[in-house]
């Protein structure tokens, strides 16, 4: 379908597709098997200028927005949803710096993030604080010109590989979420260590680690926005990043559909290609329809975010819920179409099914997303009644 891309957007999409097909797909299987993060891909993405895409021009970016980020994430995820996270999760770490960073913070980090010299990460989740993000325990105690950070963050994508982390902490634990603050912490800061590397079901081409803070001292100038605004920073960041997760899901689903459709024309049973059977064709038709619907929703929401529309939480959540559920369904059906072959690790679709699952879980479970959509909907309804 024609999404009316500008010449520049078309160029971005094509180059991301080239990187995906020529550099990512050939190593996707191996990175999954070995659970290895391919550092060389960060170099390739950097050389291709893809990290520049959604960074403002004054910080050596190309000045794109959420829309362009979605174009890149979908193309990369088509080849591997895990390796694509080296891009997407860095985006999640970059967004709060763009939205809330001071001129000095932006100048310090964005040009290096734009070139791909370093990547970023975002840390909110803790062992006892997932959907209930307000239950975080990591503290950043003010002390003179510094904060002293203590606590553990869990399941952080790009953990260990990223050089700069946006960490959501409590600067005033007595005030709960209203006492939270977003603080930038550089890798290598004394008192900041990495815990175990998680063994995961999918997205195994990306390292997920614990971040451990023990009396980690950072200057007060590392705060994003103001003290007490940590959750606002997190929520505004997620509003912009969720379409990216949606695009990751769409890319994974598209990759699975491409495999299933091709296989259906090559696999013969009862003397015919299985694509000649209505049972298969209808499955493929539903898969393609759902993917296109998810893409249309996601790109349209991305456009409206970039156009500066306010109150985007509801539609932003919709993209993630819808696209990730589509990805789970489509990849499961792709495995079904490939049958026994689909279940084998030698064929690519079982990995896609494993990779798809995380998109329903991270950056806010789909249950939380539905809460966001539902609450906003009721709020709007009540406002209309008045």
């Amino acid at each position: 379908m024609n999404y009316f891309l500008t010449e520049e957007q078309q160029m971005i999409k094509e180059l991301a597709a080239k990187v995906a097909d020529e550099k990512i797909r050939p190593i996707a299987h191996e990175c999954d098997e070995k659970e290895e993060f391919p550092a060389e891909i960060v170099k390739v993405l950097g050389q291709a200028d893809l990290y520049r895409v959604c960074i403002p021009e004054e910080y050596e970016g190309l000045g794109g927005g959420v829309f362009e980020m979605c174009l890149v994430v979908e193309e990369l995820s088509r080849a591997c949803g895990g390796i694509a996270l080296a891009y997407a999760a860095s985006g999640l770490g970059i967004i709060p710096i763009i939205l809330f960073g001071t001129e000095e913070q932006k100048k310090k980090y964005l040009p290096r993030l734009a070139s791909g010299e370093i990547i970023a990460a975002f840390a909110l989740t803790e062992p006892d604080a997932g959907s209930d993000a307000g239950a975080i325990k990591t503290t950043a105690t003010p002390e003179g010109d510094s904060y002293i950070i203590n606590g553990t963050k869990q399941w952080i994508s790009n953990g260990g590989d990223a050089s700069i982390y946006t960490v959501i902490t409590l600067t005033d634990p007595t005030r709960g979420p209203r006492g939270s603050s977003a603080i930038l912490v550089e890798k290598g800061t004394p008192g900041f260590e990495f815990g175990k590397k998680e063994e995961k079901m999918g997205i195994r081409g990306n390292a997920t680690r614990e971040l451990i803070f023990q009396n980690c001292k950072v200057p007060k100038t590392n705060i994003l926005a103001k003290e007490g605004m940590g959750f606002m920073v997190a929520m505004k960041t997620f509003d912009q990043s969720r379409p990216g997760v949606a695009s990751q899901a769409i890319g994974i689903a598209q990759g699975a559909l491409d495999e299933a459709a091709r296989y259906s024309t090559e696999r013969h049973q009862f003397g015919k290609p299985i694509s000649s059977f209505q049972a298969i064709r209808f499955m493929l038709a539903d898969m393609a329809t759902q993917i296109e619907a998810a893409r249309a929703l996601t790109l349209q929401v991305a456009r409206s975010i970039d156009a500066g529309e306010k109150n985007i939480a509801k539609v932003s959540s919709m993209t993630k819920v819808f696209a990730s559920d589509v990805a789970m369904k489509v990849t499961t059906d792709a495995v079904q179409i490939l049958g026994g072959y689909g279940y084998m690790r030698e064929y690519p679709v079982e990995k896609m099914m494993r990779d798809a699952k995380i998109t329903q879980i991270y950056e806010g479970t789909n249950q939380i997303q539905r809460e966001v959509i539902g609450m906003n909907l009721i709020k709007e309804t009540l406002r209309k009644k008045k």
Binding site: E8, M11, I12, K18, D49
Partner: protein, 270 residues
């Protein structure tokens, strides 16, 4: 260091179709790409510039649509792009092509290294590189798999690929170098490069813009003419010798002698 990379635009397929009437390739409906061997030359040119500084420019001869390939080369790191295009250049064999390219290189001027792929995937001759060097009266080295270094005295140290192993060479600049695919892994274009390439002015030269003798251009300057292009017929028939091994071998040998392929007598057969 001033480098010129010569590229050729070729059809993006190995399944080429031939027009039987004029013995030329049918290019309609076939996408064009930079000759893959030339892509390695482009990459090597960019790497040499990164290491030694200077300029790395790209040159091609062909119809106006070669513009697209030259822009792609710019997106990969070429500084300036030159296109030699003129009706009188059409129908050139390797001799006329090399003559024309050499004229373009002379016009660019002050060139230290001329890089190109070892051969084009459509013509497969591998002649243009050495012929350009002859036209410029400078040395050439072919099938280079590594450029080791260039010293201050203007010597370049290279590794030339052989069927088994390689040979190390030293040459004096300026030099024409043709490269093999083992030399590097070409990078992908960058977005900035692509955006730059879109706006880049391609310097376009016709026969009048370069110093040439018109008689040596295009079809009239080409002593080689393609008389016929054909797909070799598949061998038909054949004869199967089966049964016991000794008897079959004896029968094969007899048959070969009878048809004059094999000389000698039957004496040693056993």
């Amino acid at each position: 260091m001033n480098i010129v990379v010569c590229i050729k635009q070729v059809p993006d397929t190995t399944d080429v179709k031939i027009n039987p009437e004029n013995n030329t390739l049918i290019r309609e409906g076939v996408a064009s790409i930079i000759n893959p061997f030339d892509a390695y030359a482009i990459e090597e040119g960019v790497r040499l510039k990164e290491k030694y500084g200077g300029m790395v420019n790209v040159l091609s001869m062909g119809p106006p649509q070669v513009d697209a390939s030259l822009r792609e080369a710019v997106s990969l790191g070429m500084d300036e792009a030159y296109l030699l295009t003129d009706r009188t250049f059409a129908g050139a064999d390797t001799l006329a092509t090399a003559y024309t390219l050499a004229a373009g290189i002379k016009k660019i001027g002050n060139v230290d290294i001329i890089l190109m792929g070892r051969q084009a995937i459509d013509g497969d001759t591998g002649q243009v590189g050495p012929e350009v060097a002859e036209n410029l009266e400078i040395p050439h080295v072919t099938d280079i798999r590594k450029i080791e270094q260039i010293d201050e005295q203007g010597n370049i140290y290279l590794e030339r690929m052989l069927e088994e192993g390689y040979v190390r060479l030293k040459a004096k600049l300026p030099v024409v170098i043709t490269v093999v695919k083992e030399i590097n892994e070409p990078r992908l274009p960058s977005l900035k490069g692509k955006m730059l390439a879109k706006k880049k002015e391609i310097h376009t030269w016709s026969a009048k813009d370069v110093e040439v003798n018109e008689k040596r251009l295009g079809l009239s300057g080409s002593p080689t003419q393609v008389v016929k292009i054909f797909t070799p017929p598949k061998p038909e028939g054949g004869k199967i010798f089966d049964g016991d091994i000794k008897g079959s071998v004896r029968n094969v040998l007899q048959e070969l002698r009878a048809s004059g392929i094999l000389a000698g007598s039957e004496k040693g057969d056993e």
